[in-house]
């Protein structure tokens, strides 16, 4: 290190960084595990020179200097290597000698994370801890006017319908005339939302698939998982497990050459097809898989060259109007599977959601509408998109459900809500609130990574490096040296764990409300909140 450090506009000290490494020389054994594990090389092994002044007592002897060196951990201050707070250093340290500490008054880096004119990109979700869903309370508790149900004893049917449900009149007419009925799936209302093979590591994907298969085949819970836009492994396409999978097609059409060619060899139809038009985390932006993660396997599945960034366009380039985008594409995808598979669009929550919904109401092939709120997560996006673009899910969902009630189609087009469910771990409460606001089911992504694989990302800007392939837990990395940390069997076990816990908690919410034989979709009279404006906006009770 130079004795005279140049001080330039972009020179940062450790104090300028949000995450600062606290290292204890007394307990450090210099084993080097922390520097080896750090995903962003924020710390390095340092050789420090130390001067000690020896000033003897009295006036006879002159003071002297001694110089020594010691070894330890140095935190780098170049923004490219700023600590991300993942705390893997702490996790691997045998003596607990090191940890990152968040300094909320150290904000300088936020003004310098655009080196070379490149705005910051990252993974994760909106860096905001607020959660409206957590504030919603369930207030209509049955006690004396009618006996509350017993979550552990009464029979519960927790399934929901995915697909276009006909009106009772049309259903009976079809029954009489033996007419075509749109395909409808009875599934579990908690769906693993679209996280692509590529965004996730092979081990993570395999773990999720195993967990889903176990829930279905051993526990009888019809859980479904969406592929996200990244294709689907060829063996899975040709296996009986495909029926647990929702295939996603988005504007890049990655992997769809392989999927279309596999149709004649499919043993089962997929659960559904999701057409992604938008994503809550980055509305108006396409998908993005950065070049770091496009290895040979990913390239093969997606049908692209190795080592190039894979941006999906913000819109489907082949279409120019809502009718084309929605109606024709739904029809095309339906036709590919002989009208046996439900096809629905996924959009980011937006003030234009109602326009899409109104279009779907008139489209007899539309199997639902997935709406992804601003708190949804992503593997890669511009920081500004993630933090500032988007619409909260609660009011958007509520508006759509009420529009369906006016059209009389509230049982015909299921609404699938996503974005920030279980943000603070309250998965069942958040899901129940959205169901009672009108969702037929909910989608989760970030929660799956956090609960299923120990993702350390948070809304306090912790970690959030899913985009560059260095995920310290191996969840979003494509580097086998990293993702081998993640055991697929253990991921599957955790997925089963959190699904079972969710199921019990959901019953614990619905039983006291007196509901067990069908999901209380739209049972808004059971909800309350201590904010008058929110209560008015969502048409639920104001309670204090």
């Amino acid at each position: 290190m130079l004795t005279e450090r140049p001080v330039t506009p972009a020179t940062l000290g450790v104090k300028d960084l949000p995450w600062q490494i606290k290292w204890d020389i007394a307990t450090c054994t210099n084993c080097g595990r922390c520097t080896a594990v750090c995903p962003v090389s924020a710390i390095e092994f340092g050789v420090f020179r130390k001067r000690e002044i020896i000033a003897p007592m009295g006036l006879q002897a002159r003071p002297s200097n001694t110089f020594s060196v010691y070894h330890g951990i140095r935190q780098r201050t170049d923004p490219a290597y700023a600590c991300i707070g993942c705390a893997m250093c702490n996790m691997v340290c045998p003596n607990n000698a090191i940890e990152p500490v968040r300094q909320y008054d150290s904000t300088t880096l936020e003004f310098h994370n655009n080196r070379g004119g490149q705005p910051r990109t990252r993974g994760g979700r909106r860096n905001s801890g607020e959660s409206l869903l957590d504030q919603i309370k369930f207030i209509r508790i049955s006690m004396l006017t009618d006996p509350a149900l017993d979550a552990g004893r009464h029979e519960f049917d927790m399934r929901t319908l995915l697909g276009r449900v006909l009106s009772p009149e049309d259903e009976l007419r079809c029954q009489r005339e033996n007419g075509w009925k749109p395909p409808v799936r009875e599934i579990y209302p908690l769906v693993i939302g679209g996280m692509s093979f590529g965004a996730l590591s092979p081990n993570m994907w395999e773990g999720l698939q195993m967990g889903v298969a176990y829930l279905n085949e051993e526990l009888g819970m019809p859980v479904r998982m969406c592929t996200g836009e990244g294709g689907c492994p060829p063996r899975l396409l040709r296996s009986r497990f495909l029926k647990y999978v929702i295939l996603q097609i988005a504007s890049g059409y990655f992997g769809w050459d392989e999927i279309i060619h596999a149709i004649p060899e499919m043993k089962e139809d997929p659960c559904a097809i999701e057409i992604k038009y938008g994503q809550g985390a980055k509305p108006g932006d396409g998908g993005l898989l950065m070049w770091y993660k496009v290895n040979k396997l990913i390239a093969a599945i997606r049908g692209v060259p190795v080592g190039v960034s894979l941006p999906s366009p913000p819109t489907h380039q082949t279409q120019y109007s809502i009718e084309e985008s929605v109606a024709k594409m739904i029809q095309s995808m339906s036709m590919a599977w002989g009208f046996r598979v439900p096809v629905y669009p996924k959009i980011s929550a937006s003030s234009t959601s109602l326009a899409v919904l109104n279009n779907l109401v008139r489209n007899p092939y539309a199997a639902g509408l997935a709406i992804d709120g601003e708190d949804g997560g992503t593997g890669a996006a511009y920081n500004v998109s993630m933090n500032h673009m988007g619409h909260p899910i609660a009011s958007n969902l509520r508006d759509c459900y009420k529009a369906l009630c006016v059209a009389g189609a509230q049982n015909e087009i299921p609404l699938i809500a996503g974005g920030g469910i279980g943000k603070h771990g309250n998965l069942a409460a958040n899901a129940a609130a959205l169901i009672m606001l009108g969702a037929s089911m909910v989608q989760i992504g970030k929660y799956v990574m956090q609960a299923g694989a120990g993702c350390v990302g948070s809304e306090k800007d912790r970690c959030n490096v899913c985009n560059i392939g260095v995920c310290p837990k191996g969840i979003t990395s494509q580097d086998p040296r990293i993702y081998r940390r993640l055991d697929p069997e253990q991921v599957a076990e955790r997925v089963v764990d959190f699904y079972l816990a969710f199921d019990t908690e959901l019953r614990k919410v619905f039983a006291p409300l007196g509901r067990s034989t069908s999901l209380p979709i739209g049972m808004s009279d059971g909800l309350g909140i201590g904010d008058r404006d929110v209560a008015e906006r969502l048409d639920i009770k104001y309670v204090i």
């Binding site: 149900l149 319908l161 259903e171 029954q175 049982n411 034989t517 069908s518 209380p520 808004s524």
Partner: protein, 378 residues
């Protein structure tokens, strides 16, 4: 909790017989009100079967405005029973004016109309009168339909029976639904008092409907005139029965499949499983969670009782085929009071899969299980 009592008889009987049965069950209700549906009328209405009868409560001004309105629409009065109590009302019951049941001759222009359209117009007339009454406060209209009288009031059922002289012969009926409590779950309002009625379908319900709001929203979006009001969470049971039987054309045995469908395991064994699965999915918004016991009467005089899926409310059916009298009661003591000389071994308490039906001929209690085939939907 409400207590319910319904009588169906070959020959007209006094409504007091049902009210006495309610009184026997008084431990189970708070005696806060009484609601009566009378169908298959005897007395002066016996010969006016095709003429719609308007039932309601009117002040003097209300009666005048009613007459003006009906005359303006082209209705002519054929027979009117107007009862203004002379005695003071019991404590807690307001003095309201005239309790009326007026049979009309429909406008000549209606002669060519199909039954459905006539029905719609009768409902429209009732709703218009009700809306006007709600603004002015001088009339309350409970039904406007042939061979139907409805009476609702706040107060103890037995005291109301005496106050309104409900034993009068002109009120004798073959089908009687009686309920002994004001709805107290929401604001007290006579329109919230069971039984509820629409186009010949009447039901009353014991218990609270936890799925009320989504069901109400669904019914209101069906585009059916008369699916409105909903001061009580039990009104939806009447409208679901109407929707199932009149709009969808289903047999009353399918009603239970609409409100409490079979589980998948049960359905797998059922000969009509495809139909039932379709019905369960398309009528998903009409599924109730109870706890409810529903007693109802259909336009042809068929009476029925169903329970919720968990059978959380009491209910019993029994009667005497020889005299042609059957009763549906919340409790056996009510049944004993009304029909003491029946064969009690034939009493039937419908359980979570059952529908108990007594046809208009009053010969027997037909027991249907949801596991049975549905004959009419094939």
């Amino acid at each position: 909790m409400c207590r319910l009592f319904a009588l169906t008889s070959r020959d007209p009987v006094s409504p007091m017989r049902a009210i006495d049965a309610l009184n026997v069950m008084k431990e189970g209700h708070d005696g806060s009100g009484v609601g009566l549906y009378l169908g298959g009328l005897g007395g002066p209405f016996e010969d006016l079967k095709d003429h719609p009868i308007l039932s309601g409560i009117f002040t003097e001004a209300g009666l005048r405005r009613l007459d003006e309105y009906m005359a303006g629409q082209g209705f002519e009065i054929r027979h009117a029973v107007r009862f203004a109590p002379r005695s003071d009302p019991p404590a807690g019951t307001p003095r309201r004016g005239t309790y009326a049941a007026i049979a009309y001759e429909c406008p000549a222009a209606w002669d060519e109309l199909a039954d459905d359209e006539r029905g719609r117009r009768l409902v429209r007339t009732r709703l218009a009168l009700r809306a006007e009454g709600e603004q002015t406060g001088d009339m309350m209209v409970f039904s406007f339909w042939p061979d139907t009288i409805m009476i609702k009031e706040v107060g103890d059922p037995l005291e109301m029976g005496a106050y309104l002289e409900l034993g009068r012969e002109e009120l004798h009926a073959r089908r009687i639904l009686a309920q002994g409590r004001q709805n107290t779950n929401y604001a007290i309002n006579l329109y919230a008092c069971h039984p509820f009625f629409i186009e010949g379908v009447a039901t009353m319900t014991n218990g609270e409907n936890t799925a009320f709001v989504p069901i109400r929203e669904y019914l209101m979006s069906r585009g059916v005139e008369g699916y409105s009001g909903y001061q009580s969470d039990s009104e939806v049971f009447t409208h679901i029965a109407h929707f199932s039987t009149r709009r969808l054309g289903l047999d009353i045995r399918a009603y239970k499949h609409v409100i409490t469908p079979l589980s998948d395991d049960e359905m797998r064994q059922h000969p009509d499983r495809e139909f039932l699965q379709s019905l369960k999915r398309s009528c998903r918004k009409l599924i109730i969670d109870g706890p409810n016991c529903v007693i109802g009467c259909l336009p042809d005089g068929t009476m029925f009782m169903v329970q919720d899926r968990k059978k959380l409310r009491p209910g019993v059916v029994g009667g005497d085929p020889a005299s042609g009298v059957f009763a549906f009661s919340s409790e056996i003591c009510g049944l004993n009071a009304a029909i003491p000389d029946r064969d009690k071994s034939k009493d039937f308490q419908p359980m979570h899969l059952d529908t108990a039906i007594v046809g208009p001929d009053c010969r027997e209690v037909v027991q249907c299980s949801q596991n049975d085939p549905l004959p009419l939907q094939r």
